[in-house]
Symmetry: C2
Subunit: 167 residues, 2 copies
Amino acid sequence: MDFKEAKNKFVQTWGALGSQWGINKTMAQIHALLMVSHEPISMEDIMEELQISRGNASMNLRALMDWGIVYKEYKAGERKEFFTAEKDLDELAVKISRERSKREIKPALKVLKEVSAIESDGTAAEKHFVDQTSKLYDFVLKADNVLDKMTEYKDNWLAKLVVKIMR
Amino acid sequence: MDFKEAKNKFVQTWGALGSQWGINKTMAQIHALLMVSHEPISMEDIMEELQISRGNASMNLRALMDWGIVYKEYKAGERKEFFTAEKDLDELAVKISRERSKREIKPALKVLKEVSAIESDGTAAEKHFVDQTSKLYDFVLKADNVLDKMTEYKDNWLAKLVVKIMR
DNA sequence: ACAAACTTTCATTTTTTTTTGAAAGTTTAA
DNA sequence: TTAAACTTTCAAAAAAAAATGAAAGTTTGT
C-alpha cells in the first residue's frame, strides 16, 4: 500500500465511522484529510481531493469550525483561505466532548428532569416511569460530570485516566 | 404535564437523541418505550403506541435484541411475544459499549494499524501521515482499553469511576 | 394435516439527509 | 468604483436511509 492508497483508505474509513456516530460523511472526510495533512489546504484542493462541490465543502468546513476542530489560516500573499485541523488528539477529544455535551447531553438532561418530575398517581406504571427516568437522569448527569472532569485535565487526559483506571 | 405527555416527551426525546448518535429514530423510540414500561409489551402495542408498521417494529426489535438490550418474553397462555428492555443502566451502558467497540472501534483500529504501517519515503507529507495515524492508533486503542476496563466492573461502574476521577 | 395466530422478509414507496451549482455576497487591489 | 478572486447561501436535485405492507414463513393447537 502506498501513501496515496493509505491516505484514501484512512479518509474513507473516517468518513464511514463518522456516519455511524451521527456525523455526516463529508464532514468527517474533510476532517480526516486535514488531520493527516502536514500543511494547510485550500477549499479548492479539498474539493478536488474529495470530489465534492464548492457548496458542500463550504458548508462542512463551516460546521467543522463551529465545532472548533478546524481553523482558517491565511497565507501571506495568497487571497484564498486555507484550513487546518486540530491535530492534538487530547485537545480534539476535549472539544468534541464539550460540544456534544452542550448540544445533546445538556438538553436531554433538561427533558429527563422535567418528565421525572410528574406527580405520580401511585399506579405501578407511573411509579415505574418516575423511578426509571429519575435513575436515568442521575446516570446521565454523573456521566456528563465524569466527562467534564476528565477533559478538565486537558493535557494528556486519556493517559492519566489509564493510570487511574488500570491500577 | 401528565403521565401520557411525559411518556411521549421522553420517547420523542430519546428518539431524537438516537438519531444524533447514529441510531435510527424508531429503534431508539422502541427502546425508550420499553425502558419506562413496567411490564412487557407486545409488538401490536408497540405498533399502536408509536404508530409504526409491523415490518418496522419487527426489524427494529430484532436489531435491539442483536444489541442485547431488549429481550423477548413469553407469557403463559399467550401466543404472541412480548418484549422488555434491559433496565439496569450499568448493564445497558456495558452492552452498548461492548457492541460499539466490536462493531466500530475494533475495525477502525485495524485500518489505522494498516495505514500507519506504510513505508514512508521520507517526505514531510508522508512522515506526518505516518506520525499522525500512529498517534491516532495509540489514542483509540487506549480509549478502547479504558472503556473495556471500566465496563469490566460491570456493577456500578460509573459510580466507581466517579470516585476515582473526582478525588 | 389443517388452519389460525402470529412473525419475518423484502421489493417498493416515502421520508430524510446530503449534495449540487448558480446566484448573491464579500473582500481586495488597482 | 470597478472588477477580479474568492466564499456563502439556498432552492432544487440526488442519494441514502427508513418505513410500509403484503406475501411468505413459522409455530401451535386441534
